[in-house]
């Protein structure tokens, strides 16, 4: 659906993004993850045909955005970081305007608006003026305008920005419901949102992609083979002593220990879990739980961005 090669954008002397390469398959939900100023918004603006790149090739659905931006725009729906809403219009009129602007014939616009309102749960504010909407509804109407013309690709820049926890959950559900019918590319610096909504992550730092893959892929790559989390009914020191005897298990640490129950984190590939259980049980230690102890997304993200930052001259 999207092919990006060597994408570069300079603002004057400053490279906002540099030599980006990635591709996205049809129907995927992809998360663009990065700190503020990492280059996410610039990359999305280029994909949304709002900005032209300084260099590089970008193809959406096989069409080059520099050569035929008009055709690309027919295939995309774009929600910028601030929803582009006209406060003086009602939601229904605004969405109809957006639909017609994106080429939906007038005769089909009402149906398109109803579908978009259905998908984003904004039907009840159809007649309401936009200025009177809550922040949550404004974001949802922003998503509705992006999908009202049924685009193949949806580009959502920070769709959960400024939402309260309940609204974030609702927005996640809205985005998940779009999976399959649309290819979705969304950005965020809210890590938990990315991990729960997306099939794959592209981590961007200082205008470059520093890692890509699922949360588990990233955790495995960064953990040098991953980690194992094990809960035992025994003193932590004894359990660590036994766990270290398993070949392939490296550093062990205690996550917490109360009332004779300890939770340990073992550095080693998750495939070693059966061996760890056997070793512990054979040494008389009861295993209450064992799991992939994937590094949490926050720590993955920090590690990626810090490594990259430390590796560059300031």
């Amino acid at each position: 659906m999207i092919e990006v090669k060597g994408l570069t954008k300079y603002y004057g002397e400053l490279a906002a993004i540099h030599d980006l390469d990635f591709s996205i398959e049809r129907g995927e939900v992809i998360g663009f993850l990065g700190l503020n100023g990492a280059g996410k918004t610039t990359a999305l603006k280029i994909l949304g045909c709002v900005l032209l790149p300084t260099a590089g090739d970008v193809k959406v659905d096989g069409i080059d955005i520099a050569r035929d931006p008009h055709e690309v725009r027919r295939r995309i729906g774009y929600l910028p970081d601030t929803p582009p809403l006209y406060n003086d219009m009602t939601v229904g009129r605004y969405l109809k305007f957006a639909a017609e602007l994106r080429g939906v014939p007038s005769s089909e616009a009402d149906k398109a608006v109803a579908d978009a309102e259905e998908k984003t749960a904004t039907r009840e504010v159809h007649e309401q003026p936009i200025f009177s909407l809550s922040h949550g509804y404004r974001q949802r109407v922003g998503v509705a305008q992006a999908l009202v013309h049924r685009p193949k690709l949806l580009i959502l820049d920070e769709p959960t920005s400024g939402l309260d926890p309940v609204q974030i959950v609702e927005m996640r559900a809205t985005i998940r419901a779009l999976r399959g019918e649309h290819t979705v590319l969304l950005s965020s610096h809210i890590l938990s949102e990315i991990s729960q909504t997306c099939d794959r992550l592209l981590v961007i730092q200082r205008g470059e992609i520093v890692a890509q893959g699922s949360e588990q892929d990233l955790a495995t790559k960064l953990g040098g083979g991953g980690t194992i989390e094990v809960e035992v009914a025994a003193p932590s020191a004894r359990a660590i002593e036994v766990a270290r005897t398993v070949t392939g298990i490296g550093e062990c640490s205690v996550l917490h220990e109360t009332g004779g129950v300890a939770v340990l984190s073992l550095i080693g590939p998750p495939e070693l879990r059966p061996k760890v259980v056997r070793a512990l049980v054979q040494n008389g230690i009861d295993v209450l739980r064992i799991d992939r102890g994937a590094a949490r997304l926050e720590s993955i993200f920090l590690k990626l961005t810090q490594d990259k930052g430390n590796g560059r001259s300031q």
């Binding site: 949304g48 027919r74 774009y78 582009p84 957006a98």
Partner: protein
């Protein structure tokens, strides 16, 4: 519906959905009325044709100033409100955006101008008015208004805020209105160039007197075209920034 009409319709509706449009219209009509009374009806005994001529002089001035405030919101407001991405990510050309915006402002100016018809009608009470004179005068007022609105569209495309847009437009219009003064202090060929560019002194008086010269029509149409062309170029250039 074409993208131009779609944008023009939304924008024109915007003038009437908020108080801004009503306030601008009310102030312009009040100023027109006061100007008409001061320089026309109440300025002593005059031939009816001279009163009409004075009326169009007032209307020209108020419309030129009003155009600054009518057009300042066109693109600058989209930029400050963050709504521009909706339009520039849609499958429409930059010229369609610019022309749609320009047409909406021109339509608003035309509506306000139409309301002034009661003023020349008042001359009929005690005098005679040539309808040809009125038609020529209103054509001139709208042609000059079109040029002013187009310049305002350009100013609005350049600016980051409505205030800056109004300042840019006011400067451009002032330079064009005062061009004939520059002509007085310069030699040829600059003198001829400044005189030809004069927004009022060279091109409006014939309309005011009820005469339509092709040269003047072409001047206002060309000025409109050049300003809109520049606005389109500004919009295109912003995609590279």
């Amino acid at each position: 519906m074409s993208a131009v009409l779609l944008i023009a319709r939304r924008e024109l509706g915007g003038y009437f959905r908020t108080m801004t449009g009503y306030i601008i219209a009310a102030i312009m009509l009040l100023a027109d009325g006061i100007g008409f009374q001061l320089f026309g009806l109440g300025a002593g005994e005059m031939y009816s044709a001279d009163v009409v001529s004075q009326f169009f002089w007032v209307l020209f001035g108020i419309n030129a100033i009003g155009s600054i405030f009518i057009s300042m919101r066109l693109i600058a407001e989209e930029r400050t409100a963050g709504t521009l991405p909706l339009i520039v990510s849609s499958p429409i050309h930059d010229w369609e955006l610019v022309v749609g915006k320009y047409l909406s402002a021109l339509a608003f100016l035309a509506i306000v101008t139409l309301v002034t018809l009661y003023m020349p009608a008042m001359i009929l009470v005690n005098g005679k008015v040539s309808f040809g004179h009125l038609a020529a005068g209103y054509l001139g007022v709208m042609l000059a208004g079109s040029a002013a609105i187009a310049i305002g569209t350009f100013g609005s495309a350049l600016a980051r805020s409505q205030v800056l847009a109004a300042i840019f437009t006011a400067i451009m219009l002032l330079v064009l209105v005062l061009a004939h003064l520059f002509a007085r202090i310069t030699d040829r060929p600059l003198k001829d160039m400044f005189m030809a560019l004069a927004l009022y002194a060279r091109h409006f008086p014939p309309f005011q007197a009820g005469a339509i010269h092709l040269r003047d029509v072409v001047y206002y149409v060309a000025l409109t075209y050049v300003a809109l062309f520049a606005a389109v170029r500004v919009m295109e250039a912003r995609r590279w920034k």
